[in-house]
Every structure is written in structure tokens, then in C-alpha cells.
Symmetry: C2
Subunit: 334 residues, 2 copies
DNA sequence: ATGAAAGCGCTAACAT
DNA sequence: ATGTTAGCGCTTTCAT
């Protein structure tokens, strides 16, 4: 513990200069004599001075905070996005502040409201399906707003992501082209994970175009996990064993599906092809091939960070306002 | 976008009261007449007023920020801890601010310094092996410091975690008791992931006590991943096929090891027992049993959050200053 | 190259 | 129940 933190004024007194000179010296301003600068720096070290950003930002009317709101930390996808944002902000002097809203739009709004009160210089949110009240909050904030991970909707400002509807559709096309005909769908928390719902809708659209449909569906309210994917797959195959393909809401669920098939002795992908979404590291090491759409999560975070840097620097038109990523499908061949 | 954000003063003018009354009304103070409160609230809504926490905190000399520094987001362990912290802080009015230091002590120090400048009311850091300069920074901060996830060392203030040395030792005991004798070790980034190193050291100590040692080791500088665990396992089994147990730096690596064994046709756990650390969700769904130590990551985060709340509330001695978690070993039976 | 004054938006403390 | 004054720690602006 210890005593109260030293202030700039105390450092200035210690160094025998005015607050202003101390401030300049600390910030490495050019017009401070070397001698003075040294004395101030030394005084600051002696007093273990740590500047007060609250005062700095209030006074200068600028902050280095970038607010970021994600739905969850339980799905590796979001930590990876955050890592990308954090890395992309490195060296910019900006600092990401993360909030987790648990896929809850009300909580999201409150978190956004709270974060805005810190006067961030930009805000990054997940998706573009916020309710009107939240959108109003964001528009009113008068800072660059980046909507991340999804393209299917109308962005406020900047938009970085991929079309989940298209991702689902492309996967369906690949699977149908590969000869699959009897499809099952396994997903979870679709009311909350809107992007998973969009993928499913895109997938179904293509099925319809081919006169096909999901022969069976297993849905659950819980959030996605490997264990849940496994459980629902066991249930589905008990009902309808003669499927030749199951589409999952994501790779976690799909991996669980693969493990279920392995236990049941169902050959993957020969008998049943398993398809997910995300392109997780896990998928590439699995003992059997499963199909997935690679979503460049870290890259999206990095690009969002780059947009923030440019927007804050005032290069209003430096980049496109919408950055489109294309999901790359792997493992879907017959 | 829009115009400059409204200030409290503008809200007050709009409502025809003084700043102070507006402030009280907005904060729901008791001694404001219902009529006045309504007028102020309405004015605030009309102006889309969002309070300025910089000013609030500077003026009141308190903040609701809890600084959190973790080494990485690539390992699911840390996001889970963060989720626990975030959930544990819910409803307290406190807000977690996360920083990622990439297992880099210099970066960690800079992040801590930067975070302290925001005058957080508490700080949570990972482990207790910070270099002296970082420790000094933390001690000087004059706020509760929580060191998380590790117990092997001397805490500054509060300490929540488990002993990784002991976790490694207990795992070794269980495996030796189960009859395993020819051990291999596979790990990565041990110079940076000090807790993995402590587990290995604890494991080796027990081996020595039984006159045993690691017959082979595969180490790599890269960070842990399923793919890396798989690759190193293939390499190890090519060199020394007659091992009966491999201890991995964590469950990701161990899972990769299992997938390698499956591809090589090595029976797990009959021929080779695979042991990791963390107790990931993944492990429970895997097609073969692997041993692991359950580390209650989310719970650690929640407990850390509880300590923060208590400490900030001034209940100095409400809890033990050190909260010890015991890793539960599963899947290690013969 | 250095300093003094004013003020960022809010709350604490003290009126009334 | 409401208002006034002072000030949080810093930067901005303007002097010197």
C-alpha cells in the first residue's frame, strides 16, 4: 500500500519548476531545456509518479480508450477477435476496454452506455442487429462506430465482417454439389446467436432451391459446446440414422458431432459428412475430416483496430467503410 | 455522428435547475422532489445525456475500474477467467478493463503502468512472478492487488489460485500409483509460461522420488496448441515408441497428443496414458480418456471479483487474503 | 524556455 | 429541497 499518489504539482515542486514545465518535460516536449527535463524526470522517478489519465483526458478532451463489446468469452471466437484488436492497437497509444454482454441485448445496451461515459475515442460492437435504442446511443456518441463480424444489415458507420447468410449458402452449395442429400441441422441458442441463425437460413435457402430440406433438426437453448454437439448428435442419429450430412451451428458443436459419430461407429465423412463454421484450430487436428468455413477472426479484429486508428487520426476516407471478408470453405469435398 | 455531447450543465439549464440538483436527480438521491427529478430525467433523455465518468471520477476521487492483465487470449483458460471476473463484478457498478501482455514481462509492466494511470480501484494480475520493477509499481499503486492463478510465491496483497508445482506432483503420484513407468514430457513456451514450468518441475520431483525420470522430452518455443501437441507427439513416438505415459504442458497439447495416437493406432489409455492440465470442456468429450487436473478458472475469476468488491467496500479483513484452490485430478486411474 | 490563468465536467462540503 | 463555492489533476492558451 502506501501514501497517496504523487501529483504533477508535487513533481514540479520537487524539481523546482512550474506544473506546466513539468508537464512538458514528462511528455517529452521539444521546448524544454535538457537540464530541466532531467531534473523533472528524476523527480518523477523519485516520487514514483504515475500520471492521472482522468485529469489528462478531461483536460485535453481526448482519450485513448477504445470500447469493445462482445457477446461472450466462452466461444474462442471472441477472445481471438479481442486479441486481434488488442494487437492491432499496439503502439498506437490506444487501449481497448472490453465488455461482455452474454448475448443479451439489454445488457449490451447498458454496457455500451457505461462505456460511452468513459468518453472512448471509438467503439467496436459485435454485429449490426442492435435494437433501435442501442443504435441511437451509438449514433449519438459522435465517435467512430465499428460493427464487427457480420455484414447482413445496415451499418452505422464502419463495418468489418463476413456475410453469415452467404457463408451458410456457400456451404450448402458445396455439400449438395458433393452429392449429399439427407441433411440434419444441429444448433443451439439461435435466438441469441443471430449470426448462427443467418447461416442456417442461408443454408436452408440453397436446400430449397434444390428441392431439399433439413430432414431433422436438434435445437437447444444452451450455448454451444463440444459436449452439447455430441449429445444432440447422439439424439439425432438415434431418431434418423440414415442422414448423409449434418450442418452444425459452429465448429464446437460439429466437433462434438464427430466425437459422437466415432463412438457410434459411424464413419466420417464417408457415411455422414459433418459441417461446422469458424475454422477453429481444433478442426485441423481432428482424426476425421469435417467441413468448415474459415472465418478470419483475428484478422477482423486487426482490421477493426486499423480502422479505429485511421478514423481517430482523422483520415476520414482512408479506407472503405465496409471491409468484406469471404469465408473459405474447407473439407466439404465428397 | 451529431453534435457535441450534452453536459450536466446543459441538462440542468434545460430542466431549469442548478447543476447540483440535476446531478442529484440523475444519481437518484433521496432529497430531490419528485417533480424536479422527473423534469431533470426528462431533460436528460431529451438531450441524450450520457454522464462523463472522467469528470465524475476525477471529482469524486473514486473510480469503478478494475484493471485486469492476462498473458494471452489464445488459450481458452484466460477468457474463462475474464468471464468469471466480469460476471463476478456484475451488479457492483464496477467495470473490468482487460489488457493482454503476450507473456511478455516488459509489455506487462507497460500495460500495468498504463492501467494505473486510469486510477483503477483494484488491479488483478496473473501469477506472482512479476519482476521487481513491476512489483514496485503495484505496491505503489495503493489499491488492492489480486494475483491470480498461481500460489507458488509471495503475494503482494491478495492471492487466488492453485499451486502448479503441487498440481504437477499430484498428477505424477497418481500416474505412478497407476503403474506407469516410462514417461515422456511434451511442452511449449516454458520460458514464458512459468506455471507450466512449475507443473513440470513438480512432476519431475515425484518421478525422482520414485527413481524415475522423463525418458524423452519434446519442447518447442511456440505457444501451446492442439496442432503442436500432435506434431510433437508424432515426433516423440517415432523416437521412443515404448513409452507408457506422456505428460503435456496443458490439455490443448494433450488433446493433440491423443489425436496423434489415434492416427498412429496407439491405444489410449491402454498402451499410453495421456495427461494434461486444465480440465477443458474438450477433454470430457474426447473419444478416449485422458488424464487432467481440473483448474477452476471461472471460479478463480469470480472469487477474484468478490475479493475486489469486498476490498473496495472497505471490508479489509472480510476474507482470507489467500484463497487456495485444489486441482482435482480426473482420468488418471490405470 | 518557462510560467500564470482558466477551465475540462463533475461532485463534496457547506450553505440556505 | 435546492443552490453556491471550491476543487479534483491535468492541459490549453496566452504571456513573458
Amino acid at each position: 500500500m502506501g501514501i497517496r499518489r504523487a501529483t504533477l504539482e508535487e513533481v514540479a515542486n520537487e524539481a523546482g519548476v512550474s506544473k506546466m514545465t513539468a508537464s512538458r518535460a514528462l511528455r517529452g516536449a521539444s521546448d524544454v531545456s535538457k537540464d530541466t527535463r532531467d531534473r523533472v524526470l528524476e523527480a518523477a522517478t523519485r516520487l514514483s509518479y504515475v500520471g492521472n489519465r482522468l485529469a489528462l483526458s478531461l483536460s485535453s478532451q481526448r482519450t485513448n480508450l477504445v470500447a469493445v463489446v462482445v457477446p461472450s468469452m466462452s466461444n474462442v471466437v471472441f477472445p481471438e477477435v479481442l486479441a486481434g484488436i488488442s494487437a492491432g492497437l499496439d503502439g498506437s497509444g490506444m487501449q481497448a476496454v472490453f465488455g461482455i454482454c452474454d448475448y443479451d441485448v439489454v445488457k449490451e445496451r447498458e454496457i455500451i452506455r457505461d462505456m460511452l461515459s468513459w468518453q472512448p475515442c471509438a467503439i467496436i460492437v459485435t454485429g449490426l442487429d442492435q435494437p433501435e435504442e442501442t443504435l441511437k446511443l451509438l449514433r449519438n456518441a459522435d465517435i467512430p462506430v465499428i460493427q464487427l463480424m457480420d455484414l447482413d444489415g445496415t451499418p452505422i458507420d464502419f463495418n468489418v465482417g463476413l456475410s453469415h447468410g452467404e457463408a451458410g449458402a456457400e456451404m450448402a452449395k458445396a455439400l449438395v454439389a458433393g452429392g449429399r442429400r439427407r441433411f440434419g441441422y444441429i444448433g443451439s441458442a439461435l435466438e441469441r446467436d443471430l449470426r448462427a441463425g443467418k447461416r442456417k437460413a442461408g443454408f436452408e435457402r440453397i436446400l430449397r432451391e434444390h428441392g431439399l430440406h433439413f430432414v431433422d433438426q436438434q435445437l437447444d437453448d444452451a450455448f454451444s459446446s463440444i459436449a452439447l454437439g455430441k449429445r444432440l448428435t447422439v439424439a439425432m442419429l438415434a431418431e434418423i440414422p440414415d442422414l448423409d450430412c449434418i450442418y452444425y451451428s459452429n465448429d464446437d458443436m460439429a466437433s462434438g458431432g464427430l466425437f459422437a459419430c466415432m463412438e457410434l461407429g459411424v464413419r466420417v465423412p464417408e457415411k455422414i459428412l459433418i459441417a461446422g463454421f469458424n475454422g477453429l484450430d481444433l478442426v485441423n487436428s481432428l482424426p476425421s475430416r469435417i467441413a468448415t468455413s474459415q472465418s478470419p477472426r483475428r484478422a477482423m479484429g486487426e482490421v477493426a483496430a486499423r480502422l479505429v486508428r485511421e478514423a481517430v487520426a482523422g483520415k476520414e476516407i482512408a479506407s472503405e467503410k465496409t471491409i468484406i471478408f469471404k469465408p473459405l470453405i474447407t473439407g466439404a469435398d465428397p
